[in-house]
């Protein structure tokens, strides 16, 4: 997959941990042990993506670069992600090549790291993986942190067209999808619509509360253990197959508020459970809940 003109680096081995072999795509995930062992390998770049824009500066995995969702992955003007040239410039500046093994991790159960991974997947980055347990597990295990800013040589990432067809859904497509499987990964209060009615609270930027008709509510963090690692495949199947009634051949749309929390669920369905057709609706509730005449359901029933 290396693009022409780049120095070809040897791909890093996959993490052979037994837990990961149960997943549909074990190559998408690595453990803290694996990362500690491979931290200095050529061809690897580790990137931290957090909700808190300052957390990286308080200490990060040695050598890890910072990838900020708000200032770097989003377009500054249009509500959209960076385009092909923008992504190429960003990756190049971080020292990431097309053949780099990119390992992402972050705070809050890898919520934002999964979002960054999803954006990288829009550009088809060939080898991008999540650190199971993210920042919390690395720290809980007493592993080394660094506050020094890594100096990586500028890379030459090619301009790749963003592919919005496979794993991204837009509002019109969601309207056409009504009646088919959909998962709302927000908290129960946001799902029922009651959160919009709390007095004196600035809301999440939506004029209407509730959920998209037919969507089932599976809060995203249910896929994570207390230590921020992903649940085992059997546990995930119990949640998404057993409780939510999904099956692997379903065409599924997931959404939340702006598409970040649902990136985490997208990762679970697509890569851990192996669903081939999962799209993340990044417009999510901040678009749907403000749109004129789209159907909305209030309360606990889908």
């Amino acid at each position: 997959m290396a693009s022409e003109g780049e120095v070809k680096t040897v791909a890093l081995p996959y993490d052979s941990a037994a837990k990961f072999q149960e997943y549909a795509h074990p190559e998408m995930i690595v453990s803290t042990e694996w990362l500690a062992e491979h931290l200095d390998d050529p061809g690897l770049v580790v990137a931290e993506s957090d909700e808190d824009v300052l957390l990286y500066e308080t200490g990060h995995i040695p050598g890890a670069v910072k990838l900020d969702w708000h200032t770097e992955l989003n377009d500054a003007v249009t509500r959209d992600y960076v385009d092909g040239p923008g992504f190429a410039a960003l990756m190049s500046e971080k020292g990431i090549s097309r053949d780099t093994t990119l390992v992402l991790y972050g705070d809050r159960n890898n919520w934002w790291a999964a979002y960054a991974l999803w954006v990288c997947s829009l550009f088809g980055h060939p080898d991008v993986r999540l650190l199971d347990g993210g920042r919390a597990k690395w720290i809980a295990e007493g592993r080394e942190l660094s506050t020094s800013e890594p100096k990586r040589p500028q890379a030459d990432y090619p301009v790749i067209d963003r592919d919005d067809q496979q794993i991204r859904a837009f509002a019109g497509q969601v309207l056409a999808h009504l009646g088919q499987p959909m998962i709302d990964v927000r908290s129960p209060g946001e799902y029922t619509g009651e959160l919009l009615h709390m007095p004196d609270y600035p809301q999440e930027g939506a004029l209407r509360g509730g959920h998209i008709p037919g969507a089932r509510n599976v809060p995203w963090a249910r896929a994570a253990e207390q230590d921020a690692t992903f649940r085992t495949r059997a546990e995930l199947e119990a949640i998404y197959h057993g409780e939510a009634g999904l099956s692997p051949d379903d065409d599924v749309v997931v959404y939340c508020r702006i598409g970040e929390r649902s990136s985490h669920t997208w990762f679970v369905l697509q890569h851990l459970l192996g669903y081939p057709h999962v799209r993340n609706y990044d417009g999510s509730w901040t678009e749907w809940g403000n749109s004129v005449r789209v159907p909305i359901t209030r309360g606990q029933n889908p």
Partner: protein, 145 residues
């Protein structure tokens, strides 16, 4: 619309932020986050005295004391893994703690947008700081009856 005036201490903070380039502003916010005073024991031991600020996304609690002479004291608690929230709390502490109640109440809610952080910090975060200020003012009004 006349530009709202800030008390001199808060104005100095705003000026400090605006004198810096983007990345340095984040560094300054990080320094504020490290300078947030710890919670006094009386609050640490009785957390029911603290008001949660759910708008901040990360857990933030605050307490407001108004002395008989109307001097205001502010107390905040936010975890170390929420440095941005701590930074915002620390700015409010540095800019408002020890002022007279009327001076705190006169702080325009939109001052948060004068720090030049809009492009660096998500809008929800900045709204969290505005919410802290709104809750501080409400507590002052409540305590003064």
């Amino acid at each position: 619309m006349t530009p709202a005036t800030l008390n001199p201490r808060l104005q100095e903070i705003v000026d400090d932020f605006n004198a810096m380039a983007g990345k340095e502003r984040l560094q300054l916010l990080l320094e504020f986050s490290q300078d947030l005073p710890p919670l006094p024991d009386r609050y640490a031991e009785d957390r029911g005295l603290l008001e949660p600020v759910p708008e901040c996304q990360s857990p933030l609690f605050l307490a407001v004391e108004v002395e008989p002479d109307a001097t205001v004291h502010l107390f905040f608690e936010a975890p170390p893994e929420a440095p941005t929230t701590r930074g915002f709390a620390s700015i409010l502490h540095a800019g408002l703690d020890g002022l007279a109640a009327d001076e705190v109440l006169a702080t325009p809610g939109e001052f948060t947008s004068q720090l030049g952080l809009q492009d660096l910090v998500s809008p929800l975060r900045l709204r969290g700081m505005a919410a802290m200020l709104a809750r501080i003012k409400r507590q002052i009004r409540d305590q003064r009856g």
